[in-house]
């Protein structure tokens, strides 16, 4: 049976392609970008998010845990021993304050489709549909292909949101069932790409060139992290590269925001990029102008939009 671990299903996802959409966030990513604001989607294994700010130290979670990972100390304060946690998810139901969240429940394509298609009437009316995002959905090409095929029977729009860091075979598995690819270009410089994302951009850019020749419409997504990928040189080279590709509908900028920082703590991790800041509107405008100078269409974007876009796990 084909399954994939699901981080979240988000209805009314209005910035992941045309119209009103539902987006499926799969868990697991071959990259680990230091600015990632959804760190819970990096590891493919299930994880428990402990939202400490919501915990009221009621202790209701303690008896639900088979491994005594939850408890109260002498002062009555909740203690979570993550080393004992096997992420079974049993405590999620016990917590009445939404402080414990299990992430990574496996689903079959038809289970996912059922949830996503709950809003099929909205998709039909608005020209929207379903987006598969991640993590990196192409870690699960069979799952994606089957899901897209099921959704396709309802004649709604289908989009795939990918980092591009995948085997071409995975792309070719899903392309015939995909109406739009949202494709990340994070850094045009390979050395920097390796440093900040943990992987080379070579397969990504190769895949992008190859994808552009297939005829499927591509929307480029660029995270904007001041000091990392915003120099004029980087933007010019990116613009030049993209401007030569056919079938690119445009570029959407995703300005960095610090909201993901809490999530690292919820996962018991240190933020990989604690010092980063959001780009100013002036910085964004300059990037837009540069890209437009290469004849590219840049979708209107602003900081808040990016915040909304990148919040799958709730």
């Amino acid at each position: 049976m084909i399954e994939a671990p699901v981080a979240a299903v988000k209805p009314m996802a209005v910035h992941d392609g045309p119209g009103i959409r539902s987006t499926l966030f799969l868990k697991g990513c071959p990259l680990s970008c230091c600015w990632c604001h959804n760190p819970e989607t990096i590891a493919p294994e299930p994880q428990l998010l402990f939202r400490d700010i919501r915990c009221v130290d009621c202790g209701r979670c303690a008896p639900s845990c088979p491994n005594q990972a939850h408890g109260l100390d002498e002062s009555g304060k909740h203690v979570f021993d993550r080393a004992r946690c096997v992420a079974c998810g049993a405590c999620e139901e016990a917590c009445l304050h939404d402080a414990l969240q299990f992430c990574g429940r496996p689903m079959t394509p038809s289970q996912a489709a059922e949830q996503l298609l709950e809003d099929v009437d909205f998709f039909r009316v608005s020209g929207g549909g379903v987006t598969i995002s991640g993590g990196e959905p192409l870690l699960y090409p069979d799952f994606c292909a089957e899901l897209l095929e099921i959704v396709g029977r309802e004649r709604v729009h289908r989009a795939l949101d990918t980092s591009g860091f995948a085997d071409w075979a995975a792309f070719s598995r899903v392309l015939s069932e995909t109406d739009l690819v949202l494709f990340d270009v994070k850094h045009i410089d390979d050395e920097a790409h390796r440093r900040y994302t943990g992987g080379s951009n070579k397969p990504i850019l190769d895949n992008l060139e190859r994808l552009a020749d297939t005829g499927v419409p591509i929307e480029i997504r660029m995270p904007v992290i001041p000091g990392i990928n915003t120099s004029d040189d980087v933007i010019q080279r990116t613009g030049l590269f993209l401007s030569r590709l056919p079938n690119v509908t445009g570029v959407r900028l995703l300005p960095f925001h610090p909201y993901g920082t809490d999530k690292y703590r919820f996962l018991g991790q240190a933020p990989a990029l604690p010092e980063a800041r959001s780009p100013s509107s002036g910085e964004l405008d300059a990037i837009v102008k540069s890209l437009e100078g290469h004849g590219l269409n840049v979708f209107d974007a602003d900081v808040e939009m990016a915040q909304e876009h990148s919040r799958p796990a709730h």
Binding site: P11, M12, V14, P18, G19, I20, S22, R51, C58, R60, L96, H97, D98, E118, D119, D121, F122, V125, S126, G127, G128, F299, D300, A301, D302, E304, M305, Q307, E308, R311, H314
Partner: protein
């Protein structure tokens, strides 16, 4: 008109806004208010034995001919008259006199339903106002007097002739005052309207406003200004074609006209309708719709509020223009579904040819303009409060079915008694407030020779506002979950917990709130209760005759009674504490629509909205980021169209984020323009009561991404 008269709206707007506070009238134009009242009361005393409609007409007539008046030189519309609210005072006295001996305002000893005499939810026949003008209606009535079929008809026609004759005199007086003060913007229009119907766009708007005012002087609120684009298009086109007016000038007139309503500071706003099917099945949206929405967008005001009737023939760009306003926070627009409204009217036996005149009355209560007196708040029902009596009555129910059976029985008793008591009050209308002004606009009143207070209207319906459906559904779902499915407590224990307002039972309360199914999440566990209870209530209400020759009608909305009723409602099984708000309109309980707007729409779409002839509305709150950018308006349109496809009747929006609301509380001076859609009207957030502000903040917080 001279070019120099134009382009002044922005510069005089502040004066326009303050024109009634206080109203400027000239001392030498009539009697001071105190003297006016003395003389009016003397007349009433001296004519105690005569038919009330004659007395009423005489008083209104006396006011129109003798009150002090005034005209502003900078305004395009004249209307100042100092009446001292005499009719309203008399109305209250006549009501007290007539209702003496009628039992107090509660049913079955339960305070769950409040009977009422609703004189304030009406729409005149605006077409008659324009077609005949006051002089024409007066002449029509004078003709009818001579052929009246009976004494009552004769009295009726005489009363209409009298008030409309004085209406003409009032306009003549305004015209004279305009000449005297050189208020050149209004002189010509007033002189024309004193003797005949409106011929130009300017005159049409002027008579519309004056009519509105005179009907309200007659003691009956106007709660729909009619279908604006259909009513005024011909005047607009003719003026443009004949070079009397430019588009920009017409837009300025619309702004002045809108501002007139805003200046009254009527807290729940004035309702102006647009669009809708017209004869032949095409949509009525036109260049005037576009112009008026531009005026709405540019004024950025909470009043008037707009209604846009949509159908499959509505051109997309009109809908998008309205959605663009919503997106930018000008949310004073309710979207209405023609298809479902028509189907509902047909079920209620309304004639096919009348349906094109569908207007929302007040906020979103469907009615036929000029042919229906819908009195949409003839009784009010607090549905969740019935549970207090269910717990008092039931000892150990075996199933949720048994609880439901008891709830229905009590609800039936409460509503039947409330309707019986409302009927007693409706009978009083004839003596409390016979209404020759609105009656004079209605063909059916002319045909029957009867005032609206005596079944003169073609359709006389009485709406019952049923508040808190979401709380009812959630309470049943919680009872089912806690007592019968999970057996976390017994019925008796739950009763004890509710009596103690959940104190000491926080865990159980959280389970009720967080684990039991909730209305508004597309979850059958709660939605099925809502569907069943709504249908049961509708059948009961809609089949009960009222006292004015029609039927009662169910409304599935609450307006701000979600808060008012909440205050007097004890703890409910859904985890709600005593005094907290009920679920508003068709909405989920505050912050309980956890699966977002699409799930809420899916839930609301399960109800049969044709069961709600007194209206039903869904409030949607969106975070600004969801509708930002070029696609934002299209997304709002997508939500509306999907809701309507699912059978929704009315929908409206709020667009804001919780941070803005919180900041507005601390620094109101910086948020003077922050609008909220309260219920069926808009208000500035900073003007809301702290309790109401809390509701919006709690609701917005529930929608924050976490």
């Amino acid at each position: 008109m001279q070019a120099s008269l134009w382009n002044t709206f922005d510069s005089v707007r502040q004066e326009l806004d303050g024109q009634y506070a206080p109203m400027r009238v000239a001392e030498d134009t009539g009697l001071p208010v105190a003297e006016l009242e003395i003389q009016a009361r003397r007349y009433v005393e001296e004519h105690r034995g005569e038919p009330r409609i004659r007395t009423k007409a005489a008083v209104v007539s006396f006011i129109l001919e003798n009150a002090r008046i005034g005209v502003d030189t900078f305004d395009w519309f004249a209307d100042h008259i100092a009446t001292g609210d005499i009719v309203r005072k008399l109305q209250a006295e006549w009501y007290a006199e007539a209702s003496h001996g009628i039992p107090a305002r509660q049913a079955l000893g339960h305070a769950c339903a409040v009977p009422n005499l609703d004189l304030s939810h009406t729409s005149p026949d605006w077409r008659s106002v324009l077609r005949y003008g006051p002089a024409g209606i007066r002449d029509r009535a004078l003709d009818a007097v001579t052929t009246a079929k009976d004494e009552e008809a004769r009295e009726f026609y005489a009363a209409v002739a009298r008030v409309y004759g004085s209406f003409c005199t009032y306009i003549q007086r305004l015209a004279a005052e305009a000449e005297r003060t050189k208020a050149i913007r209004v002189i010509d229009a007033l002189n024309a309207l004193a003797v005949g119907p409106a011929q130009t766009f300017h005159e049409a708007l002027q008579i519309s406003y004056l009519y509105n005012q005179v009907q309200e002087i007659d003691g009956v609120f106007v709660r729909s200004q009619g279908i604006f684009d259909s009513l005024y298009l011909d005047y607009y086109r003719r003026d443009l074609a004949e070079g009397r007016l430019t588009r920009a000038q017409a837009k300025e007139l619309v702004k002045f006209y809108f501002e007139k309503y805003a200046a009254q500071h009527f807290p729940v706003g004035n309702n102006v309708c647009f669009g809708g099917w017209k004869q032949g099945g095409r949509d009525a949206c036109c260049e005037l719709t576009e112009l008026a929405f531009e005026a709405f967008a540019e004024r950025k005001s909470i009043d008037p509020k707009l209604s846009l009737r949509l159908n499959p023939n509505t051109p997309e760009h009109y809908l998008l223009a309205a959605c663009e306003c919503v997106k930018r926070g000008q949310t004073g627009i309710v979207f209405a579904n023609d298809e479902v409204a028509y189907e509902m009217f047909r079920r209620r036996g309304k004639a096919e040819e009348d349906l094109i005149d569908f207007v929302p009355i007040g906020c979103y209560e469907p009615a036929i303009m000029g042919r229906e007196l819908s009195c949409s708040m003839s009784a009010l029902c607090n549905m969740p409060r019935i549970f207090e009596y269910v717990f008092a009555e039931l000892d150990a129910p075996e199933s949720v079915e048994a609880v439901k059976g008891c709830y229905k029985r009590l609800l039936r008793g409460v509503l039947e008694e409330a309707m019986a008591q409302t009927r007693l009050r409706e009978e009083l209308w004839r003596v409390v407030n016979p209404s020759p002004v609105i009656s004079g606009t209605m063909d059916s009143c002319f045909e029957k020779g009867r005032d609206v207070s005596h079944a003169g209207t073609k359709y006389s319906t009485s709406g019952i506002m049923c508040a808190g459906l979401g709380t009812v559904a959630d309470s049943f779902a919680a009872i089912d979950y806690l007592v019968f499915q999970k057996k976390l407590c017994t019925w008796g224990e739950l009763r004890g917990v509710l009596e103690q307002n959940w104190e000491g039972f926080e865990e159980l309360r959280l389970i009720a709130r967080k684990r039991a199914p909730k209305w508004g999440n597309n979850d059958d566990g709660a939605d099925a209760f809502a569907v069943e209870l709504a249908q049961y209530t509708a059948e009961l209400i809609n089949n009960t005759p009222n006292e004015r020759g029609g039927h009662f009608q169910m409304g599935c909305w609450s307006i701000d009674y979600s808060v008012k009723f909440g205050v007097e409602t004890k703890a409910t099984p859904d985890g709600r504490k005593s005094g907290e708000p009920l679920a508003k309109n068709l909405d989920a309980s505050i912050a309980m629509d956890r699966r977002g707007v699409t799930a809420m729409i899916n839930s609301a779409g399960r109800l049969d909205h044709t069961d709600f002839p007194d209206g039903a509305v869904l409030d949607v709150m969106l975070h600004p980021s969801a509708v930002r950018g070029a696609e934002g308006a299209r997304l709002i349109a997508g939500l509306i169209k999907t809701y309507f496809k699912k059978g929704g009747l009315f929908i409206h929006f709020n667009v804001f984020d919780v941070d803005a609301l919180k900041r507005a509380r601390v620094e109101p001076e910086n948020y003077a323009s922050l609008q909220v859609r309260v219920c069926g009207w808009n208000a500035r957030f900073i003007d809301l009561s702290p309790e109401m502000q809390d509701c919006f903040i709690a609701e917005a917080e529930g929608k924050q991404p976490v």
